[in-house]
C-alpha cells in the first residue's frame, strides 16, 4: 500500500479549475519530485492535499484513509506535513517559538527539547539565531526555518513547495543539502520545483505537470532525458532536434 495515493484529484480557485484529474502515489521513504512550468497548478495541488483549499473531485488517501475534506491541522497531525510556498513563518515570533509552535503535540519538555536538538543538528544556523525574531532572518534562513518546522513535526510524508524559490544559487545548493540530510531521517517527501535538474540526485521519481495535468511520470534518470521534459523546458522535442541535425 502506498503512503499517499492521489486519484483523479481536481481543484481550483473560484470558478477556475486549475488541477485536472491528477493521479500519483508516493510510497514510504520515497521521494517524488513534481516538476513543471510555474503557474500550472503544482502549488494548488499541494494546497488541496494538505486541506488548505477544498478538493473539487477525486480522492486523496493517506495510509489508506480518505483525507480530502479534513481540516489542515488534522491532516498535519496524521503525519502529512506541508512546507508551503512563501514559508508562512511567524514573523513576530522568535526562531525557537516558531519551532515550539510546531511542537504542540509533544507533551513533556524533554520531548520538546529533543525535537529542537534534532532540528538544530540539521540546521545549525537556526540554533545560532534561536532568540532572534524570525522577521529578521535572511531569505535562506527563513526557508531553513520553514523546513525545520516541517522536520520537527516528525511527519511520515513531507511536502515541500519550491524550496529554491527566491534564493541565490549558493543558498539553493545549501537548502538542498539540508533536504538530503532530512531524508536521512527516513521521511518520505514530495518536492515541487520548477527545475528538474535540481531534483537530480534528490528525488527517486519525477512527475511532470503541465496545464494542471500529469503529462509524464517515471524514474528521475529516465525523466531527465524524456522528450516531454525536454520539450517543456527547452521548447522543442527531442525528435525535432534529431531531424535538425
Amino acid at each position: 500500500m502506498s503512503l499517499l495515493e492521489v486519484t483523479d484529484l481536481s481543484c481550483g480557485y473560484g470558478d477556475t479549475r486549475v488541477v485536472f484529474d491528477v493521479s500519483f502515489s508516493v510510497g514510504s521513504g520515497d521521494c517524488l519530485g513534481i516538476i513543471g512550468p510555474n503557474g500550472h497548478g503544482k502549488t494548488t495541488m499541494l494546497r488541496a492535499i494538505s486541506g488548505l483549499i477544498p478538493a473539487w473531485g477525486g480522492s486523496v488517501r493517506f495510509e489508506g484513509l480518505e483525507i480530502a475534506g479534513r481540516s489542515p491541522h488534522s491532516i498535519s497531525r496524521m503525519g502529512l506535513a506541508h512546507v508551503p510556498q512563501g514559508d508562512m513563518i511567524f514573523p513576530d515570533l522568535t526562531v525557537e517559538d516558531n519551532l515550539f509552535a510546531a511542537l504542540h503535540g509533544a507533551g513533556r519538555w524533554s520531548e520538546r527539547r529533543r525535537g529542537l536538538s534534532e532540528v538544530y543538528a540539521v540546521f545549525p544556523r537556526l540554533q545560532e539565531r534561536r532568540k532572534q525574531l524570525s522577521m529578521t532572518l535572511s531569505g535562506g534562513e527563513k526557508r531553513m526555518l520553514a523546513l525545520g518546522r516541517g522536520l520537527v513535526l516528525d511527519a511520515k510524508l513531507l511536502m515541500i513547495d519550491e524550496p529554491s524559490l527566491g534564493l541565490a544559487p549558493r543558498v539553493i545548493q545549501e537548502v538542498y543539502e539540508r533536504i538530503c540530510h532530512m531524508r536521512e531521517h527516513g521521511v518520505a517527501m514530495i518536492i515541487v520545483d520548477e527545475s528538474p535538474a535540481r531534483l537530480d540526485g534528490v528525488a527517486d521519481r519525477l512527475c511532470l505537470i503541465d496545464t494542471g495535468r500529469v503529462i509524464e511520470a517515471g524514474p528521475t534518470a529516465v525523466m531527465l532525458q524524456h522528450e516531454k521534459v525536454l520539450e517543456t523546458y527547452l521548447g522543442f522535442s527531442a525528435a525535432e532536434s534529431e531531424m535538425d541535425q
Partner: protein, 295 residues
C-alpha cells in the same frame, strides 16, 4: 515633592491601571484574531451586573463576585462567538459583518440590561476597605490600590501565558499566519474560541473590579469599549507592552490636564493627542511592522 504633582501621579496610576484592565481583553482579542469586537463593552457590563446580582440576591461576599463576573462574561463571549461571529467569519464578507454584528449585540445586551436592572446606577460594595497615606499629603484608598495591583497581576499573567505557554505560542502564531499555524497541526478554530472566552472573561473581571470602584452602570460598558479602544490603538494593536504604556500615558494626560487646565479639557486634549500620535506613528507606540507572511 509638591502635593499636586503627587496627586496627578496618583490619579494617573489609578486611571492607567483602570484602562489597562479595560483594554486587556480587547487587546488579546485583537492580537489573536485581528478583528474588532464591538460587543466588548456589553460583555464588560454583563460581568459587572452578574457580580452585582450575585452579591445582591445570593449575598455572596464581594470578593467571590470576581469569579462570577469572569465566568458570566466568558460564557457570554463563547455564546457570541459560536452563535454569531464564527458563522459570519466563514463568509467572504465576514469581517465587515462581525463589526456590524458586534454593534448589534452591544445594543441588544444594553437594552436587555436596562429592562432587567433599570437604567439606575447601582453600586457594588467595595471589595476592600480602608485607606492609607502616601508621601505628599495624598490619601490613597485601598480600593484604588486593589485596582493597581490587579492590573499588574492580570497583565503579568496574560503576558506569561502568551509568551511561555504552548497555547500562548499557538495564539501568537495564529495571529501571524492562520494557515501557517494550521499546517503545523494547530487547531486554530479551538484557539480562536479560547481567545474569545479568555478575552471576554478578562472584560468581565475588569467590569467587576471597576464597578466596585466606580459604579455598576449600563454606560460603563461603553466607556470601557471607547477607552479600551483608545489604549489598544495608541499602544499598537495587539501589543501587550504597548497597551500598558498607552494605558498609563492616557491616565497621565487625563489627570494632569484635569488638574491644571480643568476637567472639561481632559477629553479634547486626549483625543487631539491620539490623533497626532496616529498621524506620526500609525502603528501606535510599540507598533512594529507586522505582516501576514503569505496567505
Amino acid at each position: 515633592m509638591r502635593s499636586d504633582v503627587v496627586q496627578v501621579l496618583y490619579t494617573a496610576v489609578v486611571l492607567g491601571s483602570t484602562y489597562a484592565l479595560m483594554a486587556s481583553g480587547l487587546t488579546l482579542i485583537w492580537g489573536g484574531l485581528r478583528f474588532l469586537n464591538l460587543a466588548y463593552g456589553a460583555v464588560f457590563s454583563v460581568g459587572a451586573f452578574a457580580a452585582y446580582w450575585a452579591v445582591a440576591s445570593w449575598g455572596l461576599p464581594p470578593l467571590a463576585a470576581l469569579p462570577v463576573g469572569f465566568f458570566a462574561s466568558a460564557a457570554l463571549g463563547a455564546i457570541i462567538h459560536l452563535g454569531i461571529f464564527r458563522p459570519l467569519l466563514k463568509r467572504p464578507d465576514g469581517e465587515t459583518s462581525t463589526l456590524v454584528a458586534g454593534l448589534g449585540i452591544a445594543l441588544f445586551v444594553q437594552a436587555a440590561l436596562v429592562i432587567r436592572f433599570s437604567p439606575r446606577e447601582r453600586s457594588l460594595p467595595p471589595l476592600v476597605h480602608g485607606s492609607f497615606d502616601i508621601p505628599g499629603g495624598v490619601v490613597a484608598s485601598a480600593s484604588a490600590a486593589l485596582i493597581v495591583v490587579s492590573a499588574a497581576i492580570t497583565l503579568t499573567i496574560l503576558s506569561i501565558f502568551l509568551t511561555r505557554s504552548q497555547y500562548g505560542v499557538g495564539i501568537r502564531a495564529l495571529a501571524n499566519n492562520r494557515n501557517g499555524a494550521e499546517l503545523l497541526g494547530i487547531d486554530t478554530g479551538r484557539l480562536v474560541l479560547l481567545v474569545m472566552v479568555l478575552g471576554s472573561g478578562l472584560a468581565g473581571l475588569a467590569g467587576v473590579l471597576l464597578s466596585s470602584f466606580y459604579f455598576v452602570s449600563i454606560a460603563a460598558g461603553f466607556t470601557a469599549l471607547v477607552k479600551g479602544l483608545i489604549v489598544t490603538i495608541t499602544g499598537g494593536l495587539g501589543n501587550l507592552r504597548g497597551t500598558l504604556i498607552a494605558a498609563y500615558l492616557v491616565g497621565f494626560v487625563e489627570s494632569s490636564v484635569s488638574l491644571w487646565l480643568g476637567v472639561r479639557w481632559s477629553l479634547p486634549v486626549l483625543f487631539a493627542g491620539v490623533l497626532i500620535l496616529l498621524v506620526v506613528r500609525p502603528r501606535g507606540i510599540a507598533g512594529r511592522i507586522s505582516f501576514e507572511g503569505g496567505r
